[in-house]
Amino acid sequence: MLRFLLKRLALLIPTFIGVTIVAFFFIRILPGDPVQVLAGERGVSPERHAEVLRQLGFDLPLWQQYFNYLGDIFRGDFGTSFASKRPVIYEFFSRFPATVELSLCAIILATVLGVPAGIVAAVNRGKWIDQATMGTALVGYSMPIFWWGLLLIIFFSGYLHWTPVSGRIALSYYFKPVTGFMLIDSLLSGQKGAFLSALHYLILPTVVLATIPLAVIARQTRSAMLEVLGEDYVRTARAKGLPPRRVVALHALRNALIPVVTTIGLQVGVLMAGAILTETVFSWPGIGKWMIESVNKRDYFVVQSGLLLIALIIMTVNLIVDVLYAVINPRIRHQ
């Protein structure tokens, strides 16, 4: 097991270096630079322009900038945002909890609804309930997510006035962030109703973000269950006359869940960094939206370090999933 883990970790090193190269050079190939963006229609004099670039160290040869950047990263310095003049790491962690909160809620919702839906569909294979569930799942899977978000806003916020349009909590509540997770902070604040309010603001974005993972999980659960239900030991259990419910619960489910857990794990990685569209539609103050804005502003340090941090998170989540999978399923280790 340890060897497996070490091997996986060793594989991460070249990937990590590759990621730093991509993150660093991408933003620099982009035409235009942050000084011009800031100046807007007004423009900036060439002397002033050169001076600011020099202050930022952008006049050095690229390779030298790259090694400075690598060195800074290993010292834990991710640079300063040009747009806000604050450390990138500070900016990142003031937005990251919002993304994590939304993603976790979405994945929980998707799992809680998706796994039972998949089981029900598998057990009733071919019946109308199977077709209805899987049909719905396929529609969800095919949904253009930004359009879906807009439709839900029109209907639930604009027409029914049930949910707020954007934001994280009603403005009448005010407390200093402790963890950055609004649900937790609202409880810690001890203010009455704050938690409910935070939940109320989370509902719509969560539903939108959960749509695709929900469909994926339901489909995956169904096919994993079908596979397991066809295996010999389940047939034996059935033949022994065990009640079908027990067969499903005891024998089939446990084995079917292995690939499902993997799917869920991989979805977490996708969601955490991939909530861009949902964040854009709901003006959710998370990292996806921040990255897009920073690319547009040519905020070099934010983009290079932000991309790197996001990639690190995805890599870590995938590693954890791999390791978990190997723990559950020993055959993998020897491949």
């Binding site: 594989l11 949904m143 439709l151 806003i153 079908l226 960094a273 996001i310």
Partner: protein
């Protein structure tokens, strides 16, 4: 499987064999109602796309300056000239949708071809040669996969400049590692099979072994993945269009149509709803086909 005694496999039996295989796939495929519905819708879309210049009631870029934001014909204020209404500068939405079908299908086809070809070549090389070739290729794939795909596509498009073709390139690049991984895994499991060893002993070269001996036997998962990628390419292109980096004006690409009409969310529902439905229906049809193909090609599911 393939003829193992002769170095040049006789073409006739192989073709017959393939035909039988196809017939079997079609047999299972046509038994899935969803897949058939998907196929019918998809064929209809292709026809609309091909015939758009003749069947579209209007020129998709012509602006009726007297008819900005006309609602669909069944709604009060509708104009019988414009079945699904007009957009913000008086262009017929139905005609734009019909022409837009060309772009969406084109996007799907181009992206899938690019990523399929790229992914297969890389995957074959990696799986066949193993060693450092494999390590190098797979690490590059890992790097691509370490970034959220939409974000990576977005940065790529910003680098090479916004536009439909560049958007397709970027999407193809971020979808391609899936094909490479799939091919590699299939190749590795096939390489040690008897028929490959025999072909090698019979003196087949690398290229021949890779492409005509191993590849045909790994096709099933690739076909399924290709169908799924077709739909995600359309969705991703729409998303890029939505973020302002897709097709350039006055091209009637669906995602761009949607993005352009965002401001009308509260007062002209049709300009925002209709292109969305078009995207949803197309993607749904393709996914139905994909599911049907997967079931038809997957022997495990056939058995039970």
């Amino acid at each position: 499987m393939t003829d193992i005694t002769s170095p040049s496999p006789a073409p006739a039996p192989a073709a017959a064999h393939r035909l039988a295989g196809l017939r079997e796939v079609w047999f299972y495929f046509s038994h899935s109602r969803g897949a058939v519905v998907g196929l019918v819708v998809f064929v209809a879309l292709v026809l609309v796309a091909l015939l758009a210049p003749w069947i579209a009631p209007h020129d998709p870029v012509f602006q009726y300056r007297d008819a900005f934001l006309t609602p669909p014909v069944w709604q009060e204020g509708g104009d019988p000239r414009f079945l699904l209404g007009t957009d913000a500068i008086g262009r017929d939405i139905l005609s734009r949708l019909m022409h837009g079908a060309r772009y969406s299908l084109l996007i799907g086809a181009v992206v899938v071809s690019l990523s399929l070809v790229g992914g297969i070549i890389l995957g074959l090389l990696a799986g066949y040669f193993r060693g450092w070739v494999d390590a190098l290729i797979m690490r590059v794939m890992d790097i691509i996969l370490a970034f959220p795909s939409l974000l990576l596509a977005l940065v790529l498009v910003t680098v090479i400049g916004p536009g439909l073709f560049n958007a397709m390139l970027a999407i193809a690049l971020v979808l391609q590692p899936h094909f490479a991984r799939l091919t590699r895994a299939a190749v590795i499991s096939e390489t040690n099979r008897e028929y490959v060893t025999s072909a090698r002993l019979a003196g087949a070269g690398h290229v021949r072994l890779m492409f005509s001996t191993i590849l045909p036997n790994c096709l099933a998962p690739l076909i399924v993945q290709a169908t799924l990628s077709f739909s995600s390419a359309i969705l991703d292109a729409a998303a890029l269009g939505f973020l302002g980096l897709g097709a350039q004006p006055p091209i009637p690409e669906w995602g761009t149509m949607l993005a352009d009409s965002r401001e009308f969310i509260t007062r002209a529902w049709w300009v925002i709803t209709i292109p969305g439905i078009a995207i949803l229906v197309t993607v749904l049809a393709i996914n139905l086909i994909g599911d049907g193909l997967r079931d038809a090609l997957d022997p495990k599911l056939k058995r039970s």
